[in-house]
């Protein structure tokens, strides 16, 4: 095994060919559904259920999904759902950053009574079954008028975004040497200026990674918009599943096109922060 750990030593043996074959097998399994979705999204209405791989591709489905015609056909306002998703998730991430950065800094820089409790309370939100909170919120939102609003969604999405932001950024602030800020203080900076001018720029990659990852998870969330929105603030994930339901003719090609559009933003964002992904996904527990 030690020979295999060393990079740069390449030998073509039976074992290494076998290993590559196993990997190829996994990646066929892994990529086939995505490829199939792309194919389905390029099929016309008449071909959607009659052919598997041979067909004349068209890009019309993407336009149809986004347009009023698509809404008339499938009674799903997908363009509206896209806008709602951006507003809900963008707002939720912004609130989490504004509130989470100071808390993460405090928890990363100082040890004070209650800081660990605070952090673990945050973490427990990540692991708590969502419905425990959403069912009472469903009742509260219906009473207060927050049901099906962007504000309501921004509030409940804090359950998703806040633990991510606080835990990831705390691990970055912990890695930051306190001496840098001490130097700034000795130069006559105030605490606040030392934080803004020294600490904040140094953890900028962490902030970007935490923000984008929080956005991805908020975007991918399904339970909250399913229960707490109707048509006004509903999101892409709920809209995509609505293509499947509904009576009348099924538009599988439109479903696939919508699924593709809905999957694209998280995929693109994930590729930009791939270096920080492991650390982010493990809430800072694994520093890769």
């Amino acid at each position: 095994m030690a020979t295999e750990i060393k990079p740069g030593r390449k030998r073509l043996t039976l074992g290494s060919v076998g290993a590559d074959l196993l990997l190829v097998f996994w990646f066929v399994f892994s990529l086939f559904p995505i490829a199939w979705m792309v194919l389905l999204a390029l099929k016309t209405d008449t071909e959607q259920t009659t052919t598997y791989f041979a067909f004349s591709p068209t890009f019309d489905n993407f336009g149809t999904v986004m347009s009023q015609r698509g809404t008339d056909l499938t009674s799903v306002d997908f363009a509206g759902a896209l806008v709602s998703s951006v507003l809900n998730c963008g707002g939720a991430v912004l609130v989490s950053l504004l509130i989470g950065i100071p808390a993460a800094y405090a928890a990363g820089r100082w040890k004070y009574r209650g800081s660990e409790d605070l952090m673990f309370q945050m973490l427990s939100f990540r692991f708590a079954p969502e419905l425990m909170v959403v069912v009472p919120l469903f009742v509260i939102y219906n009473q207060t008028g927050l049901f099906d609003t962007t504000y309501g969604m921004i509030w409940v999405l804090q359950l998703v975004t806040m633990p991510l932001v606080v835990w990831i950024l705390r691990s970055y602030f912990q890695d930051l040497s306190a001496e840098l800020e001490q130097a700034a203080l000795l130069d006559g900076y105030t605490r606040r200026r030392a934080f803004v001018m020294v600490a904040l720029p140094l953890v900028r990659p962490g902030i970007a990674a935490a923000a984008l990852l929080a956005f991805i998870f908020a975007w991918n969330n399904y339970v909250f918009p399913l229960i707490l929105t109707d048509s006004n603030a509903t999101t892409v994930t709920v809209a995509v599943t609505k293509f499947l339901g509904g009576g009348g003719q099924a538009y599988y090609n439109l479903t696939a096109a919508a699924a593709l559009i809905g999957a694209l933003p998280p995929l693109l964002l994930a590729l930009t922060i791939q270096r920080y992904l492991v650390r982010g996904l493990s809430f800072g527990a694994v520093k890769a």
Partner: protein, 315 residues
């Protein structure tokens, strides 16, 4: 609250070299971390309020048809715990969680070991490994639901199963949903374990190779103990998420056919949102919450021990 001084790195008391640090009163310095955390605490309280309201619901007879509930003590718990449907949900949830987590862990470690050989194929595949993980689970479930379709779904066509093989039948639905879970989340275990493998020190492996140790011996005696904390982090995340699985199952089968895939959260959704019986749904969730909490506490303590042991082994 401020009885203990925050053990911050105090600025040196000696004369400053470049000007004087601003004089901040001691009480303000002590209070600072608390002040910074106040908004976050407000958010936590805002989330804990509905949580405790949910716990309270579990002791009421609250539903849409009974908007003026009264306390009924443990009636909901008695009724839920004596309901065979609840125990079916427990069994389905436990099967889902342990099978999915177990397979994902084994497959994820396998993929990470293969990728760590750093062949050219591996390096290309590492880039696309995470794609299923980043797609929304519901969207993944929608894709798979289309592929599972017996008539035009591509799976029966490619695998030559004909047009009558039903992936989401009563007997197969649970295994099919687990398959979708594997497709999405195996990369999660793989990238965490891969990060761990890359951080391993080389010396112990070279030393034991010189001593003539075989690959399997090194894997068992060296790699696995050192990797254990990474594997445990992955297992904790996967097990917790599987115990409260909702979205994949709801989209693929909505808990059916019958109650073949009715996991605890799907059951709670049926009770409280579909049937608008808030108290019964909350009782389900409270019981699930206790289960999740107990498992989390246990696993985190195991992780703590493993991390200390690995630190000792590496140190």
């Amino acid at each position: 609250m401020t009885t203990t001084a925050p053990s911050r790195q105090a600025p040196p008391a000696g004369p400053a070299q470049h000007g004087t640090p601003p004089v901040v009163p001691r009480w303000r310095r002590r209070l600072r971390p608390y002040l910074l955390s106040v908004p976050a605490v407000a958010i936590i309280i805002g989330i804990l309020y509905p949580f405790f309201l949910g716990v309270y619901y579990a002791f009421l007879n609250y539903s849409a048809v009974n908007p003026n509930p009264v306390l009924v003590g443990f009636d909901n718990f008695r009724s839920v715990l004596s309901d065979p449907e609840f125990w079916t949900s427990v069994r389905v949830t436990a099967t889902y969680a342990f099978v999915a987590t177990g397979l994902e862990t084994v497959l994820g470690i396998g993929i990470a070991l293969l990728l760590n050989r750093s062949s050219i194929v591996g390096r290309i595949f590492e880039k696309v490994l995470i794609l299923p993980l980043m797609i929304a689970p519901v969207i993944a479930a929608v894709i798979w639901k289309l592929m599972f379709n017996p008539q035009f779904g591509v799976l029966n066509h490619v695998l030559g199963l004909g047009s009558t093989f039903d992936w989401l039948s009563r007997d197969r639905a649970l295994w099919s949903t687990i398959l979708v879970d594997l497709w999405i989340y195996t990369p999660f275990v793989a990238i965490l374990v891969l990060a761990g493998l890359r951080s391993l020190p080389k010396e112990p492996f070279e030393a034991s190779e010189v001593d003539g140790a075989g690959w399997f011996y090194m894997f068992r005696r060296l790699m696995l103990p050192m990797m254990w904390p990474y594997i445990l982090v992955a297992v904790i995340f996967r097990l917790m998420d599987c115990l409260k699985i909702f979205d994949i199952v709801y989209v693929l089968t909505a808990g059916g056919p019958g109650d073949a895939t009715r996991t605890l959260q799907v059951g709670a959704f049926e009770d409280s949102i579909t049937n608008l019986n808030y108290s019964r749904g909350s009782t389900y969730m409270f019981l699930l919450w206790i289960l999740v909490f107990a498992v989390a506490r246990y696993l985190v303590s195991v992780l703590g021990k493993a991390q200390r042991r690995a630190a000792g082994a590496e140190g």
